[in-house]
Amino acid sequence: MTVRTAEFLMALMMGAFSIYLMYKSTELPVGWIEDEGPGGGTWPFWLATIMLISCVGILFNWVRKHGPIASSNKIYIEAHVLMDVLAVAVALIVTVGLFSVIGIYGSLPLFLIFYLRILGKHSWQLTATLTVLIPVVIFYFFEITLKIILPKGLTEPLFLPLYKMFL
């Protein structure tokens, strides 16, 4: 896919999103209400309209090939870059997905092992050290000091004794 094609698709998608936002804004009154001023939907409705107009403007520039992006025939994301970025993005999505299943202390070590060992090709010693150290620091800092309880999923019961100790 070229940058030019990507530009077109992005403008189209954002345009569609703008229309959806305009539609969604009309759930509240978008006009003037006597003694109350503008209705609750007015502000987002007109802003979404501005978004839509901007998208039309971007598409207008696209048609006349105006500007470096609209006229660029370079590849949008090169294959080897795509692999790297995709690997990281998918790893993040899987990690967050696992938060509510095996909890943050199950999924973060997996993420660290994946990143350090497989992507970073670091030694097992370093990988193991960081994989153990980072979650411990996080637990100490966020859960004990800041009292922000992070998602545990199925591992919740394992933490009950720790809560008793610290909280």
Binding site: V3, A6, M10, M14, Y20, L21, K24, S25, L28, E36, G37, P38, G39, G40, W43, P44, L47, A48, I50, M51, S54, C55, G57, I58, N61, P68, I69, I77, V81, M83, D84, V85, V88, A89, L92, T95, V96, F99, S100, L108, F111, L112, Y115, L116, L119, G120, K121, H122, L126, L130, I134, I138, F141, F142, T145, L146, I148, I149, L150, P151
Partner: protein, 506 residues
């Protein structure tokens, strides 16, 4: 005058509390580190680390974040000089002469010059700040809803008029930021609004941190992953010889550059005040002017010390300058201050001119902390140059997962809702894809912070005027501000027409 000095004195008392002092030193060191890492700048550091500040009172929190902001301005120069890669966009101009100096084996000279220039820039601008801010806040005290809205329009208009990005994309970015901030509840009628796809997670709105960490954390890191893939992750670290004797000699030689530093400081400060401009253009402009001022302009680009001093003085001065509108008017002067402003809202402080009267300790504590942060940053910077060079050798693949994890937890912490973590990932990935198409994203972050303040200001104004937009033009302060905003908004259009006329003539 004496009143200001008295208040500043009180501010210093706040700063010298042990906790705050520790926060400044820690913040400076952390900021230096963040600034030195290629790809990470002050805005990333502040966005990712803001959730950590829930631990301390607001004054401590802002002091810590301001120290990071400051430290990052110093740190940006380190990788510009040692790697030839700007540690942050604000340090781009530093590579022009810093890198050639490093290649000539004079890396230590460039690093010392950068540190001293940063210190001068920071000091001059914070003095200007101390005496400019209170009168400005005093004027702003009479501002009502129409003036507030006009000021926000002006802030957005500077992005369109001076931002230099595609006009439509800039406007899109501003509008989407404002719409995202409108999600949740209508503040006046209390009814749910824009609950996208009827997902209940949107009922509590979108915390600005979710967007900020999404864009400046996840998105930025994906961007860096891409750049590492392209560059093969090879390090081009220069060698540096650092000894006490050489440092003293370097310091002595810097005396001749005082004019350049002074120019960079004053210029940077005033450019920094403008929302769309800030440290990056400020430092580039300072570089350009330094070259024109110089008796030997041909040396620039080949290792002129002035070429390091000017942009470094300017970017530190600009970071102070950008705090002026944030503290006095409640309008951030840069993406980083936008996040600081959002933080103030979280800590329960209402931004605006009343801050100076209602939360005097907070404001003056912050101002005094800038003096202190400046001093600590230059000391830490010069004393630990070898350490920072070592840090630059840290492989990206160790740092990246740590930052990603901080982002994920940072996105979860403010609301403790998994919905926000997902949303942050979406913002990060879409933001990355948009950035590749040159969509400017800083306006969106500014907009999501200002949105909850802009909408009530607009609605209240219209209620006062019974629906007439004339209220924005026929008041003493709102009028000129609004006209300035409109002029800036149409500046690109004037340019196009001007170019057309000139083309016809030629």
């Amino acid at each position: 005058m004496f009143e200001i000095l008295g208040l500043l004195g009180n501010g210093f008392l706040t700063v010298f509390e042990p906790l705050n002092l520790a926060l400044i030193v820690g913040g400076c060191a952390l900021g230096l580190f963040i600034g030195a890492m290629p790809g990470l700048g002050s805005v990333n550091g502040v966005a990712i680390l803001l959730p950590l500040t829930f631990l301390v009172p607001p004054t401590g929190a802002i002091i810590f974040l301001a120290a990071i902001y400051y430290g990052a301005m110093y740190g940006g120069a380190i990788s510009s000089i040692m790697l030839g890669i700007p540690g942050a966009s604000t340090a781009v101009a530093t590579t022009f002469d810093g890198r050639p100096l490093a290649k000539q084996g004079l890396a230590d000279k460039a690093l010392t010059a950068a540190a001293v220039a940063s210190f001068i820039g920071g000091s001059i601008s914070v003095i200007l700040f101390t005496f400019f801010a209170p009168p400005l806040a005093h004027i702003a005290l009479v501002f009502g809803a129409p003036e507030e809205f006009a000021l926000m329009m002006l802030a957005f208009a500077t992005f369109v008029g001076l931002g230099g990005d595609d006009i439509f994309k800039t406007i899109f970015s501003i509008a989407i930021g404002l719409v995202l901030s409108a999600i949740g509840f209508d503040i006046i009628s209390g009814e749910p609004r824009l609950v996208l796809w009827d997902i209940t997670g949107f009922l509590h709105g979108i915390n600005f941190l979710v967007l900020a960490i999404g864009i400046y954390g996840i998105g930025e890191m994906l961007w860096t992953v891409e750049e590492n893939a392209l560059g093969g992750g090879k390090s081009m670290l220069s060698e540096a010889t650092v000894t006490v004797a050489r440092t003293m000699k370097n310091l002595k030689e810097l005396v001749t550059t005082w004019k350049t530093m002074l120019m960079g400081s004053v210029l940077g400060y005033f450019v920094g005040i403008l929302p769309a401009a800030g440290a990056t253009p400020g430092s580039l402009m300072a570089y350009g002017i330094a070259k024109q001022m110089s008796k030997e302009p041909e040396k620039f680009g080949k290792g002129a010390v002035e070429g390091v001093c000017a942009p470094e003085a300017a970017n530190n001065a600009a970071s102070t300058g950008s705090m002026l509108p944030m503290l006095t008017l409640g309008i951030p002067g840069s993406p980083t201050t936008a996040i600081l402003l959002g933080g103030m809202v979280i800590w329960g402080l209402e931004p605006g001119p009343r801050l100076f009267t209602d939360h005097s300790e907070f404001v003056w504590g912050l101002i005094a902390s800038l003096y202190a942060a400046n001093l600590f940053a230059v000391i830490i910077n010069i004393a630990f140059i070898p350490v920072f060079i070592q840090i630059l050798k840290t492989p990206f693949t160790i740092l990246a997962p740590v930052i990603f994890i901080l982002c994920l937890i940072g996105g979860y912490a403010p609301t403790q809702d998994m919905h926000d973590v997902w949303l942050m990932l979406v913002f990060g990935i879409v933001g990355y894809l948009m950035r590749k198409l040159d969509y400017p994203l800083a306006p969106a972050v500014l907009a999501i912070v200002l949105g909850p303040l802009a909408e009530p200001a607009l609605r209240q104004s219209l209620i006062i005027s019974d629906g007439s937009f004339a209220i924005f033009f026929n008041r003493t302060y709102a009028g000129p501000i609004m006209i300035a905003a409109l002029l800036l908004l149409f500046l690109p259009l004037f340019k196009i027409i001007y170019d057309k006329i000139r083309n016809k003539q030629s």
